[in-house]
């Protein structure tokens, strides 16, 4: 196990270094001088002398070789100094501190919903394979995987907010401020964010359950005279859960991506919306910082899942 953990950590570290390289050099692909792009955002700096420009270039460290700039940027990121937003004129860390909790709050609820609902639905479909629950669930999971999150959001708003008036159209309130209003506001976004997760988890659960059910030890359990409930929950469920766990890592990545769209539709002031607005206001410092933080987050979650996976299933460790 120690060897496995060590291997995984080294791999993750390598991946982390590559992530920083990708983010840094992707931003450098921007056509033009980063300094001039920066200046283009600020009208009062437009008529600067060349000397003042050089001065500014030195201040930002843009006169140094590119590798030095990269190292400085990584060193800054390690100190949690991700730069200052051009548009908001605020420290990027501060901007994120306000928005990340919102995205993660919604995300965690959506992850919990997709995992529990997905497992239960997939289990039902597998146990009643070919019967009516399966016949209804299977096509629905296909729709759930392919329905565009933003379109689902629009339909939900139209039906439940505009036509029926049961839930608010959009917005976000902190649950600590007004719990009831906050909960009413997050119902629709959470449905949108978890649609893909529920459907893909249910599909994975169904197929891995169908692989476990014909196994010998399940037949033995039946032969022992155990009840169906005990066989499904104690024997079959445990083993078929293993592939479902890896889906959580994928699910988290898809969900963060989906939050870009869902937060736009529901006007939720989270990271996804900050990302979109920063892209449109060409606030590359924010885009760079957000891309880095999100990728590192995904990496960490996948690392934890990998380690957990290795602990759960010894076969993985020796492979």
């Amino acid at each position: 196990m120690t060897k496995y953990i060590g291997q995984r950590l080294v791999q993750a570290l390598l991946t982390l270094i590559l992530i920083t390289l990708i983010v840094f050099f992707m931003m450098r692909l921007l056509p033009g001088d980063p300094l001039l792009i920066y200046l283009g955002q600020r009208a009062e700096l437009h008529d600067m002398t060349d000397e003042a420009l050089e001065e500014l270039r030195k201040e930002f460290g843009l006169d140094k070789p590119i590798m030095v700039q990269y190292v400085n940027w990584v060193a800054g990121a390690l100190r949690l100094d991700l730069g200052t937003s051009i548009f908001y004129r605020e420290d990027v860390g501060t901007l994120m501190k306000e928005r990340f909790p919102i995205t993660l709050y919604l995300g965690c609820i959506a992850m919990a919903v997709s995992t529990t609902a997905g497992i239960l639905i997939g289990l039902l479909a597998a146990v009643r394979r070919g019967a009516w629950p399966d016949k209804i669930i299977s096509p629905l999971t296909y729709i759930g995987v392919t329905i565009p999150a933003f379109w689902l959001g629009i339909i939900l708003i139209y039906v439940f907010a505009q036509k029926l008036g049961w839930l608010p159209v959009s917005g976000f309130t902190s649950p600590f401020k007004d719990f009831v209003q906050s909960t009413r506001q997050i119902i629709l976004p959470v449905i949108c964010l978890s649609a893909f997760g529920v459907a893909s988890t249910a599909r994975q659960m169904r197929s891995s359950m169908l692989e476990v059910l014909p196994q010998d030890y399940i037949r033995t359990a039946w032969a022992k005279g155990l009840s169906e409930r005990v066989i499904i929950i104690k024997h079959a469920l445990k083993n078929s859960l293993i592939p479902v766990i890896t889906l959580i890592g994928v699910g988290f990545r898809v969900m963060i991506g989906g939050s870009v769209l869902v937060e736009t539709v529901f006007a939720i002031p989270g990271v996804g919306r900050l990302m979109v607005s920063s892209i449109f206001s060409q606030d590359y410092v924010v885009v760079q910082a957000l891309t880095l933080v999100i990728a590192v987050l995904v990496l960490l979650i996948n690392l934890v899942i990998d380690l957990f996976y290795g602990w759960l299933d010894p076969r993985i460790r020796y492979n």
Binding site: Q11, L14, T15, L16, L18, I19, I22, M26, M27, L29, L30, P139, Y142, I143, V145, T146, I147, P148, A149, F150, W151, I154, I155, I157, Y158, Q162, Q204, S207, S208, L210, E211, R253, V254, I256, G257, G258, V260, L261, T264, M275, V276, I279, F280, V287, T291, I294, A295, V296, V298, L299, N302
Partner: protein, 304 residues
């Protein structure tokens, strides 16, 4: 020694017997499994419709999709304009039909380029016993840490939001999946005896990779390609919904959903129709991909 010929004779009969059972042709078996499921047939029919629409768009569309004022702005669905008109008085049905072109074009080009690059990287990584493997695979891991839509969004934003750049962005986002699958498959294929035999016969690595590894990696990858086409079309829709991608007069389903959204209360069809088109196309690619998977290799069921 005396029973020697008898044994040979017996072995010969066994051999003959084994050759005897009639072989169902691969194509027949494929057809039977593929079209055996109703959902797959429905998916194939939807795809056929989408393809035909995309190809024959100029002949199918009742109006010029880019010309404003072929009707009054925001007309309700009627006989003249089956899906109504948008805020500029353009015929929504014609725009929907031309939107199929955008979706299919972006989907196909990005998925195929991504598959070619991804498979090449994956086979190289899987076949190599040197540093190429960890290097390529860690790079793919790193790319996989970026949510697809986010990576595509950032790349498209950096390069500028033209349709070509959206294709580039989606391609980069889709490469790692192919590389991973191809690498995994290559790792198992390279252990087979026919690869060893080929090497003993003195063939070079490139020849072996191309002649032996690629054909064996190909069928499962085809399944992945089909599934990814659905994903790419969904991602393109997401990008154009956010306003990145095709330039204004052009028609893209995601952008149409977003434009129609403002008029949801007065004319919901404007937003519902393109959304439905996105979903049905994605759904069809998924169904066909699933059907292909079962037909190509039943053992892969549920693995990809």
């Amino acid at each position: 020694m005396s029973d020697g010929p008898a044994v040979i004779g017996k072995a010969a009969t066994v051999a003959n017997f084994q050759e005897a059972p009639p072989r169902i042709s691969e194509w027949k078996r494929f057809r039977r499994v593929f079209f055996g499921r109703g959902m797959v047939v429905v998916g194939s029919l939807i795809l056929l419709c989408v393809f035909l629409t995309a190809i024959f768009a100029p002949w199918l569309a009742p109006y010029d999709p880019y010309k404003p004022g072929v009707g009054n702005p925001l007309e309700k669905p009627s006989k003249r304009h089956l899906l109504g008109t948008d805020n500029l008085g353009r015929d929504q049905l014609s725009r929907l039909i031309f939107g199929a072109r955008t979706a299919i074009l972006v989907g196909f080009v990005s998925v195929i380029i991504a598959a070619v690059i991804g498979i090449t990287l994956g086979i190289a990584a899987g076949y190599s016993r040197g540093p190429a493997n960890p290097l390529i695979m860690r790079l793919m891991d790193a790319l996989m840490c970026f949510p697809n839509i986010l990576l595509a969004l950032v790349i498209a934003a950096i390069l500028g939001g033209s349709i070509v750049n959206v294709i580039v962005a989606l391609t980069v986002a889709l490469i790692p999946t192919y590389a991973r699958v191809a690498c995994g498959l290559t790792l198992s294929v390279r252990e087979y005896d026919y690869v060893l035999a080929s090497r003993l016969m003195g063939f070079g690595n490139f020849y072996i990779m191309f002649r032996h590894v690629l054909p064996n990696v190909f069928p499962p990858i085809m399944v992945l390609v089909t599934l990814q086409l659905g994903a790419a079309i969904l991602a393109e829709a997401g990008l154009s919904f956010l306003g990145i991608g095709i330039e204004p007069p052009g028609a893209a389903w995601g952008a149409m959903v977003s434009d129609g959204y403002q008029y949801m209360m007065s004319n919901p069809v404007l937003s519902l129709a393109p959304g439905l088109a996105i979903m049905l196309t994605g759904f069809a690619f998924n169904m066909v991909g699933d059907g292909l998977r079962d037909a190509v290799d039943p053992r892969l069921r549920g693995l990809l």
